[in-house]
Amino acid sequence: MMKGRLVPWLMVGPAVLVLGALFLVPLALVLLQSFGYQAVGSTGLTLAPWKSALSDPEFMGALVLSFRVALVSTLLAMALGLGLAVLLERNAGRYAFLTRLPLVVPHLVVGYLVLLLLGRTGLMARLGHALGLLAAPEQFPVLVNDRFGWGMILAYLWKEVPFVALMVYPLLGRGTAAWRDAARTLGATPWQALRHVILPLTWPAVAAAGAIIFAYSFGAFELPLLLGRSYPRALPVLAYQRYIDPDLGRRPEAMAIALVLTLAALAAAACYLVSLARMERALASVRRDEHG
């Protein structure tokens, strides 16, 4: 029986080895180095890197910016994605390109799409000029490299709204439609049916997708680099700049910021796992309703 128990471990062995050596060990090194382990000019373990990273005035600005962009992107993507899934009804097959396109267009290019559409000489500004709404590019609202982060938010939305719809869609089967129709027959407005029937029934999928989007948009590097401002930079960009600083003594600060990113991702992972367990139960009950 010993052999039988060993087989699954042999099967997952290579994957565990790869992720252990290239993901867990590096994370442990980041943790150690954030306390000055083997850092340039450091003697033993110390809290100094954390102190200087967290007391840096740009850190607070970066944290607020990254958190705001991630939170607004996530909430809007959840709402719009649920809306899109509802609008698609039984037609998802015809609109398969909605989920294929964001898969094929990488984040860097999505950032450039936003720049060409909403930059101050972008297509929208030109449209405004053609309609006589503005005379010069400077009159167009700053939507790219702006203080709030709208450029980044819009880029994430383009990428993630179809993803939310894709996650929610399986929960919108006939079972959910039957509940909604029952609510409508009993006099609920379409809005009430959405709020009190469809939202509770699809919430696990919406929340699971939201956890993934929050983790991604909080920790992403490319889009803030392209669409962000030079001050404050987003948290991941700040960590990168600290890491490549010619003063190697600043690297432990980069490690401390990297750990802040890790902690946020772990919190999102916990939300995701809870939502996923609920989603599996919800899917099972949707299937029961469809067969019953």
């Binding site: 128990r5 087989v7 699954p8 471990w9 099967m11 997952v12 290579p14 994957a15 565990v16 790869v18 992720l19 252990g20 290239l22 993901f23 060990v25 590096p26 442990a28 090194l29 980041v30 180095q33 809306g83 609008l87 037609n91 909605l98 989920t99 094929v104 267009v105 990488p106 984040h107 860097l108 290019v109 450039y112 799409l113 936003v114 060409l116 000489t121 500004a125 000029h129 590019p137 993803f163 894709l166 699971a208 956890a211 983790a215 909080f218 920790g219 992403a220 590097f221 392209l226 991941p236 990168y240 890491y243 980069a254 990297a258 990113l261 991702a265 772990l266 992972a269 995701y272 796992l273």
Partner: protein
């Protein structure tokens, strides 16, 4: 009716941002405030396809790298996905969490640790080092896609084969493997696209010695020539689209009318 109109507006809003990108790629000049380019031309493409900017080289490097990452993910992810999908064993939950985390913990958080490690192992500034690093974000997609398919498959068909006299390897090769082909193809599409779009990892571990498409593209995106940047962006999307199209073609053949097992996150 209102619903159909809303859907049409949503789809248009989604497609609209692609319009300026495509126009710019074929517009040598598009001065403010013109609504449409002054004239169309292939100048950007002629420059990009000439050997100077190294775009073709970068496209080949990117595609080759993504293909190697995908092959490694098939080799490592197929057994792991099978074990997670069909067996219960001590430590299974821990392995499942380990396979989930790289999807959520951003590269910026762990890649600096990989860099520290690879400097000591002499793996920085090399294609091999970048290949190893790309496995981390890519592998979970393969394991999870195969795992979900294996869980639905169960053990019954294979057990029937075993009862009829097939050896364990024979039963796997003739019964289980063919039914996992759709999941392997879907997983391959995802791992290829994940590897293709890595910017930070390639920049940090490759140190400029490994020029992939995103590394070559970034300076163009912040540069002044929008036509070049737009054309190169289309090349970048084209490589991913080509691979996705190929896998879907194979998928349709392999799965018949079955629905493709898309994202299993």
């Amino acid at each position: 009716m209102a619903k159909r109109a809303a859907l049409r507006i949503a789809v248009s809003a989604f497609l609209l941002p692609l319009l300026p990108l495509v126009l710019w790629a074929f517009a040598p000049a598009w001065p403010w405030p013109r609504l449409l380019p002054a004239r169309l031309g292939m100048q950007a493409w002629q420059y990009l396809l000439s050997p100077g900017p190294g775009v073709l080289q970068a496209a080949l490097t990117s595609a080759g790298l993504a293909l190697l990452v995908t092959l490694a993910c098939v080799a490592i992810g197929l057994p792991a996905g099978l074990a997670l999908g069909r067996h219960t064993f001590p430590g299974r939950t821990a392995v499942e969490v380990l396979v989930l985390l790289p999807l959520l913990v951003p590269p910026m958080a762990w890649s600096v640790g990989v860099h520290y490690l690879f400097v000591r192992l002499g793996l920085t500034d090399s294609l091999a080092g970048v290949w190893l690093a790309h496995l981390v974000p890519a592998l979970p997609y393969m394991v999870r896609t195969v795992g979900a398919a294996a869980a639905t498959l169960g053990m019954r068909a294979e057990e029937v084969g075993r009862t009829l006299g097939a050896g364990p390897w024979q039963a796997f090769r003739l019964i289980t493997l063919p039914r996992l082909v759709p999941a392997l193809l879907a997983g391959s599409a995802l791992t290829f696209l994940v590897s293709l779009s890595q910017y930070l990892l390639t920049l940090l571990i490759g140190g400029g010695a490994v020029s992939t498409l995103p590394v070559v593209l970034m300076p163009f995106l912040t540069g002044a020539d929008r036509s070049l940047a737009a054309a190169l962006s289309l090349v970048f999307c084209g490589v991913g689209a080509l691979f996705l199209w190929l896998t879907e073609l194979l998928l349709r053949r392999a799965a018949g009318r079955d629905r493709a097992p898309w994202l299993h996150l």
